[in-house]
Amino acid sequence: MRVTVRLFARLRDLAGSGEMIRDVDAPATVGSVWQALVTENPALRDYERTMSVAVNADYSKMSAPVNDGDEVAFLPPVSGG
């Protein structure tokens, strides 16, 4: 199945792109999508303990299931205001 991955701020810089399409094996979770990304780009791993995640623009968890067509986002610690 196919998901859209969104990366922001420094995660986007590290990956070289803020939006990418990835094919992942079902059943997938946010965590398994992340592991595939880290395998491609080990520099992202530093964010594993501090980032937040979202599915279809709602906060989610690494253990949450991911379905075909979902948008999965990985968010570094925030600094708005």
Binding site: R6, A9, M51, A54, Y59, L75, P76, P77, V78, S79
Partner: protein, 158 residues
């Protein structure tokens, strides 16, 4: 004018205030918070900031914060606009307007909102300074972190 916005346009605090106070003969207090791009940050001389947002989630998070504030201060009415894109020194990055019958609730709801923005809204500052640039990283965003929410409430009521 929408009460919640994430926008690349300059912020309009007078317009947002007018929107919230329009039908408010019972209002006795308006508090406003305006966040500005500051020249000095952690010893660096800032040239400009670029703000990036995950816009749909940022809007949802801002709406959630206003819901939380209204639950704690039921008489308060609130609006919050956050700017994104490139901002020069002195420009407003965020405006918060809180209106209520009495000043205590307006001040507290306004303070609570900015504290929560810094905790859970997916917006990032990319600081460009003399000699380099850096992504600023603050809080790990977790809207269900009750301890963080209570910390914001304590600051608001201090």
């Amino acid at each position: 004018m929408a009460l919640v916005a994430v926008t690349a346009d300059p912020l309009d605090v007078e317009g947002l205030t007018a929107e919230i106070t329009r039908a408010g003969a019972g209002d006795g207090a308006v508090t406003t918070f305006i966040g500005l791009v500051r020249e000095q940050n952690q010893g660096r001389r800032v040239s400009f900031l670029e703000y990036e947002a995950y816009e749909p989630l940022a809007v949802r998070a801002l709406e959630r914060i206003l819901d939380e504030a209204r639950e704690t201060w039921p008489t308060a009415r609130l609006g919050v606009h956050h700017r994104i894109g490139r901002l020069q020194l002195g420009e407003a990055s965020i405006i918060i307007v809180a209106v209520s019958p009495h000043r205590a609730d307006a001040f507290a709801a306004c303070r609570y909102t900015i504290e929560r923005v810094k905790q859970i809204v997916p917006i990032w500052k990319h600081e460009h300074f003399e000699g380099g640039d850096v992504w600023l990283e603050g809080a790990t965003a977790d809207p269900d972190d009750e301890a963080a929410r209570q910390a914001a409430q304590r600051i608001a009521c201090a």
